[in-house]
Symmetry: C2
Subunit: 246 residues, 2 copies
């Protein structure tokens, strides 16, 4: 345990203060600690079990989350409860888009897809930090601009790709986002979750996976998916992505 100069606060093991946090992808860690010293007060750590929902669509907004450790899916629920996964998030990423703005309610839901530790910053604290630190606000802006880029890219994809292409696109996205561990994609998702991201049904995903397995492009052991020929997959959707690879 590191000794901070001031009082040691009561903390669970997972409740790491910003000053000792290892997560240098975190915009807060990157920017705020360079100037002020007392940032430990700002945040609260929250632990989520796999499957636990920590943002509910329509609930009042009161802050913003960072993923300290773990993985999260961000979604919107449509008619008849069909869920559209708008993105996944891993360590260092921000959840709760407008947690500091004028929006009254969350327009997305978020569920931990494995055991996850979140850092929570309240609206007011964050707003103050952003307005007093131009670099921090700038980095936040860049984060959103990037996400916007990706999202608009996805709008195009979904409206122009076939189911097969969308499933492949999702596989490549997961590969980029979470990478590979021991040959398998380093995240465990159900077929339903692949479907919810690709904007199709579970059955279609299973069918496409079967075809891809037959074609030796991927292989699977239960929920663990391995990509055997990433270039082969990329080729199939390359015509859709002239300029962007994100």
């Amino acid at each position: 345990m590191p000794t901070t100069s001031s009082v040691i606060k009561k903390r669970a093991a997972f409740d790491v203060g910003c000053e000792v946090c290892e997560n240098y992808n975190c915009l807060i860690k990157k920017n705020l600690l360079l100037t002020a010293g007392s940032d430990a007060l700002l945040k609260r750590s929250i632990r989520c079990k796999k499957g636990q929902q920590f943002i509910i669509e329509g609930a009042p907004v009161n802050g913003l989350f960072f993923v300290l450790k773990g993985k999260v899916k961000v979604f919107r629920t449509g008619i008849n409860g069909k869920e559209q996964i708008v993105r996944f998030a891993k360590e260092g990423e921000i959840i709760g888009h407008r947690g500091f703005g004028t929006e009254e309610y969350y327009s997305i839901g978020a569920i931990a897809i494995e055991n996850t530790v979140l850092c929570y910053f309240s609206k007011s604290v964050l707003q103050e930090a952003l307005l007093s630190n131009a670099k921090l606000a700038y980095d936040f802006m860049m984060f959103y601009a990037d996400e916007l880029n990706r999202s608009e890219s996805k709008v195009k994809s979904i409206s122009q790709m076939t189911v097969r292409e969308r499933v492949i696109d999702t596989l490549l996205y997961i590969h980029r986002k979470f990478g590979v561990n021991k040959g398998y994609l380093d995240v465990v998702l159900s077929r339903k979750e692949y479907a919810d991201h690709a904007g199709t049904t579970e059955e279609q995903v299973i069918r496409v996976f079967s075809a891809l397995k037959t074609e030796k492009l991927i292989s699977a052991s239960g929920k663990k998916i391995a990509i055997n020929d990433i270039q082969g997959l990329k080729n199939e959707i390359s015509e859709h992505n002239f300029y962007l690879d994100s």
Copy 2:
């Protein structure tokens, strides 16, 4: 003509300096003029005729545009040249998402859909302004966060709505964005453009419009579309939008 204290520069009529600009929705106008005085130097005004493309997908990024006057469509071109309109922009809005960042190339294209005047800010000027003015950066961030929200909402729509619903959704979006003038939507779009925004084909749009006309929900006189029963339209897609109305 207002008299600025310093030298009067050579300017075309449309090339309005920030100091006399009437566009108080503009983030630059709103934030920067309050502090610095010499902003007229920062920007260049560019005039576009209807139909003129001023951002080409894949071209090198060197700055960012504001719409001073007029209307613009922002799109991505997919396979076989099919174009997906990701959004429309009107006075005060920003075009060219990452015009100040590290991105090398524009990932979107932009075309003026009527005669338009743009203000152009170079990458470096803008970056400097953002990093020295937290409120400006904050406002930019909010703009992108909003756009992200809308875009993710659209991802959901496209993957869960029927063609009819998507066309209605587009009509309502246009209504919110551009409003009504003399009973008609205050923008002239082709059926193709409605289709490109709704992620469908021109013929489908025409078919849906026909049906909506029969049902007295809309009426049309050529390209001018009037919404007769906005609540009726909203009802059809209300199940998809529990929480968000943007």
